[in-house]
Amino acid sequence: MNDAVSSQAALNADDERPSIVLLELIHRMKVRDVMTREVCVTDRDSPLRAAQQIMRKQGIGGVPVAEHGRLYGMVSMPDIIRAWEDGYIDDPCRTHMSTRLVVLEEDMPLAFAIRYFGRYSFGRFPVLNREQMLVGILSQRDINRALLRELAGEVKRLESHSGASLPPPAGGIFDMYMLREFPVAKLDFENAGKAANQIRLMLLEKQVEPRVVRRVAVAAYELEMNLCVHSNGGVLSCLVSNGRAEIIARDNGPGIPDIEWACLDGTSTANAWIRSLGFGAGMGLPNVKRVADDFLIESKPGGGTRARVIVQLGVQSDGKPSAPETSARSDT
């Protein structure tokens, strides 16, 4: 299996869910971030032999045929082998180059390019800008190098946040440190709620007051369900530090057109099937706001959504019922 096909497998693996970090990376990175910009080219009138020399010198398997930035074709190793076999290695490139080309555009997400490598057998793709000028070339090696570099950075970032590298907590709420991330897949009702429950159990284990834990759990659950029901999938994270819990839900789309409307009690875009499961009552975000000491949500249609909730673990904030409405309603 070649390298790009491995990357493709990472996208499509049936047996296990692809890494959210990896998915985020390949959707965030563009072809232009990864491609090789210094492209060795030949022109249409140069002999195939010249293209072969470029390949040998540069250690590459294909050379674009371009003039003044305009791409006319590609000469690849099989073209050269055929030229030697059939005795036309000194013919100009224009007579034997491949002209039916598959090209990438520099604005495309890397995920798109990886699918191209899976779909076609080419080892590299020329990259054009919006003006259709040749601006780079993308090979599987470029992709692997860029992914390794980015993943190394991501791992370093996680390690720097990881509780494992810190001294164990001394016991008080302000000494607690914990960071957990949970991928949440679209419409995966079978697992939805598990992240919130794990967060709840971890906080209970740390001796956080159960009424405060319930507020964190409600926020985490509602945000987790929002990821499950409304997003294309995302990540729910819980950071406990400085005496507070910070729950963040982030996804890559499709975004919320009108956040104010979405935060109103009773408004929902859920369909009938989702409502039949008891969701989509339009209470999710209002519930989150009610239990949060601080709530922030950012979204743009077509883009991602990021929601952040902060709950102070040590103090009961004014006006925030620790177990929402329960105590008030118990006496009625």
Binding site: F189, E190, A192, G193, N197, R214, A281
Partner: protein
């Protein structure tokens, strides 16, 4: 009231019953899970028709001790398995939510709890 009292009051069947003597002092009736999240009290029985996995998740998060599924709806195996692992009881009853709320309300009132919450669904 205990789980056994609940079973008798609602002509219910226990599908998952970690402890028949577990005590339930409140009740909440709703089919909207976000509403349950927001309002259901702890140590309660949740009266609902939502016979699926996520009901167990919500009940666990808010501290419900039992889920009473009305209208005799069947309990999917994955729901029962989740309830077993979370130690939440699941009961089914042929009666509807109103009737179940009414009967459980009477029992709790008799026993001095008087803590039934319900919402129109």
């Amino acid at each position: 009231m205990t789980l056994s009292d609940l079973l008798a009051a609602c002509e219910a069947t226990a599908v998952v019953a970690p402890d028949a003597q577990v005590s339930v002092s409140r009740a909440y009736t709703s089919d909207l899970l976000s509403d349950v999240m927001a309002h259901a009290p702890e140590e309660s029985v949740l009266i609902t028709i939502q016979n699926h996995l996520n009901t167990v998740a919500v009940a666990t998060l808010v501290g419900c001790r039992a889920i009473l599924i009305c209208h005799g709806r069947a309990i999917p195996e994955e729901m029962a398995a989740a309830a077993r692992s979370e130690q939440v009881a699941i009961l089914t009853t042929p009666i509807n939510q109103f009737e179940a709320s009414n009967r459980i309300g009477s029992c709790l009132t008799t026993q001095g709890h008087a803590r039934v919450h319900s919402v129109a669904v």
